[in-house]
């Protein structure tokens, strides 16, 4: 009886009993070689953008766990949750993931912990359209959906190429009202603005900004990509800004700009339309 109990305990403690079909090696965005039981049957994604990318390549059915912030596509909302920004390691263990997918630098601490617990951790980190397209191909290969990954990657590539706008108006894009947050061209949001023909008034990537810097650059177009819709008239010098005088302040859906996923192409196409408009 005791021996049986011991046996039960030992079996209970061991890692997944069924042997993996095969182990394949993949190189992720960190340049790290990750060994994954392939094709992975249970994938956990710990940030919304990788969840969306996994669904985009057709790996949705293999997604075993997501975070409470993963709300796109809507099907993802019904998946088991492993946490919010903090991963609950008991829930993660219960899901027995073959691979955990994330962007390493935005989840550095959690990712390192997950890796130290022996899970395979695969990172994609797209900062440009090229990298989004590349990430779709990589995730297609990782999840056993190479053909579908290639298909969505090629269609995204075609959409991006179709826009190819010449440099047009100067642009200020605001993704956060308090503190004022913007981005230069060196982020995926900035890449979308640049490809759509916007000449960004700031350089660099994501950054907080002093309003005076916007006033002195007096952009021709202002894109507001967050939820605050009122109170702008209280801003210093608002009425005298070129963009305001020419009625070229646009409130755009933040979802089309805030994620490095195929949805960003919606933002790209919308921005290109906006930048082509003539001053009334």
């Amino acid at each position: 009886m005791k021996r049986l109990l011991l046996l039960v305990l030992l079996v209970g403690c061991s890692k997944p009993a069924e042997p993996p079909a095969a182990t394949r090696e993949f190189v992720d965005s960190r340049g790290k070689t990750v060994k994954v039981a392939w094709p992975p049957k249970r994938i956990v994604s710990i940030i919304p953008s990788t969840t969306e990318l996994l669904y985009a390549v057709g790996a949705g059915p293999q997604v075993a766990g997501v975070t409470t912030y993963c709300d796109y596509p809507p099907e993802a909302k019904s998946k088991p949750k492993v946490g919010d920004i903090v991963v609950d390691y008991e829930r993660l263990a219960a899901l027995k993931p073959d691979v955990v997918v994330t962007s390493f630098s935005t989840t550095r601490k959690t990712s390192t912990e997950i890796e130290s617990k022996g899970y395979a951790l695969y990172s994609v980190e797209p900062h440009t359209f090229e990298e989004i397209i590349g990430s779709l191909r990589k995730l297609g290969a990782l999840t056993g959906h190479e053909a579908e990954g290639e298909k969505v990657a090629a269609s995204l590539e075609a959409r991006v190429k179709a826009v190819a706008a010449a440099p047009g108006p100067t642009v200020y894009i605001e993704h956060s009202p308090e503190p004022l947050g913007t981005t230069g061209p060196d982020s995926y949001m900035g890449d979308a603005v640049r490809r759509a023909g916007g000449r960004n008034i700031f350089d660099g990537g994501w950054r907080l900004i002093d309003w005076e810097a916007v006033m002195s650059r007096d952009p021709e177009v202002i894109l507001i990509a967050h939820d605050r819709k009122t109170g702008y008239e209280k801003r210093a010098g608002w009425a005298n800004l070129r963009a305001v005088k020419n009625k070229r302040v646009y409130f755009v859906a933040k979802e089309n700009y805030m994620y490095p996923t195929p949805r960003l192409a919606d933002g790209l196409e919308e921005a290109a339309r906006i930048f082509r408009e003539k001053n009334p």
């Binding site: 907080l208 002093d210 005076e212 006033m215 210093a236 010098g237």
Partner: protein, 321 residues
């Protein structure tokens, strides 16, 4: 440290205040951008004025609480008012409140409610049989402050997507696109609260003798506590609601001023108000000169510059003793 006559202090501080605000017109990004009338009159000037008013409010709140509690460690933070304001603002951010409160932006209005709420709660908790012992009031305030602080931490933990908004708010900032609108919030708070404090300056002096003595000398101490607690909370609420948590000014400025001009609140009050304003305005000017594009958290700047200065003053005093 040698006492200096109050009138001399005022004579230095009034021009200093004007100078600091004037200086703030010249701070900012001038090289790469073009300077327009709007930038000077609609942004830099009101920003200087806002910094002055917020510093003055924090100074007023600190000197009022330190006098009322006869405790030089009392400041808007210790009394729980700042944490109450923080809880209000952070809750509004996290819960996504989008409606305006008293015509103020959501976070501002809720900070206001939080600050005055914390003060009222501390008073209600400390009240026993119609009496509110100051020590109990101070302890109740700090307990409520800790509680509100813990709630803030929990709220942040459950709502990380907007963490940058919350963190900026908790570190305090002077970089707002709408400085005039914020000046309009701070001015009535400062005028009302400073007015109440000035009217009760003599009573505050008598409170220094102890509550019993003050009462025997004809001070209505219970009424005084309500007025001064309300005034201190109102001043802090205006400051915290518009510019976030700016530490140090409310604690150190009254302290240093008391050493400079002595404990008579009739002089100490205006001196502290002016000194707090000058200090914060200069801190903001310095912050903008160091980093014209990227807004530095002003609370960190005041603490970085002020803490060593305070240590110096403490050392100087201990050396004499």
């Amino acid at each position: 440290m040698k006492r200096i006559p109050s009138l001399v202090a005022l004579g230095v501080l009034i021009p200093a205040a004007a100078g600091a605000i004037a200086l703030s017109i010249f701070a900012g990004e001038t090289l790469t951008g073009k300077l327009t009338r709007d930038i000077v009159l609609d942004y830099r000037l009101p920003r200087g004025i806002l910094a002055f008013l917020v510093g003055a409010s924090l100074g007023a709140s600190g000197v009022c609480f330190q006098g009322l509690f006869r405790n030089s460690l009392a400041d808007p933070f210790v009394v729980g008012v700042s944490s109450g304001a923080a809880l209000g603002a952070v809750a509004s951010i996290v819960l996504g409140v989008e409606t305006t409160v008293f015509g103020l932006a959501p976070a501002t209005g809720c900070a206001f409610v939080g600050a005055t709420g914390a003060a009222f709660l501390a008073y209600a908790v400390a009240r026993v049989r119609g009496r509110v012992p100051v020590t109990t009031l101070l302890l109740a305030g700090s307990a409520i402050g800790s509680f509100a602080g813990a709630m803030v931490s929990i709220l942040i933990l459950f709502n990380s997507p907007r963490w940058s908004e919350v963190v900026t708010w908790l570190m305090g900032t002077m970089a707002h696109p709408d400085p005039w609108a914020r000046v309009k919030v701070v001015v009535p708070c400062l005028i009302a609260s400073a007015g109440v404090m000035v009217i009760h300056a003599r009573d505050l002096n008598l409170m220094l003798l102890g509550e019993e003595s003050a009462r025997q000398l004809g001070v209505e101490t219970e009424r005084l506590k309500i007025f001064l607690l309300g005034a201190g909370a109102l001043a802090a609420a205006g400051a915290v609601a518009t510019c976030g948590m700016i530490g140090f000014v409310g604690l150190i400025v009254p302290h240093v001023c008391r050493r400079l001009v002595g404990p008579d609140h009739r002089m100490l009050l205006p001196v502290t108000v002016l000194a707090g304003g000058v200090l914060l305005t200069l801190a903001d000017v310095a912050a903008r000169m160091v980093s014209p594009q990227f807004p530095l958290p002003i609370g960190a700047v005041t603490a970085l510059a002020g803490a060593p200065f305070f240590v110096y003053i403490l050392r100087q005093r201990s050396a004499k003793m």
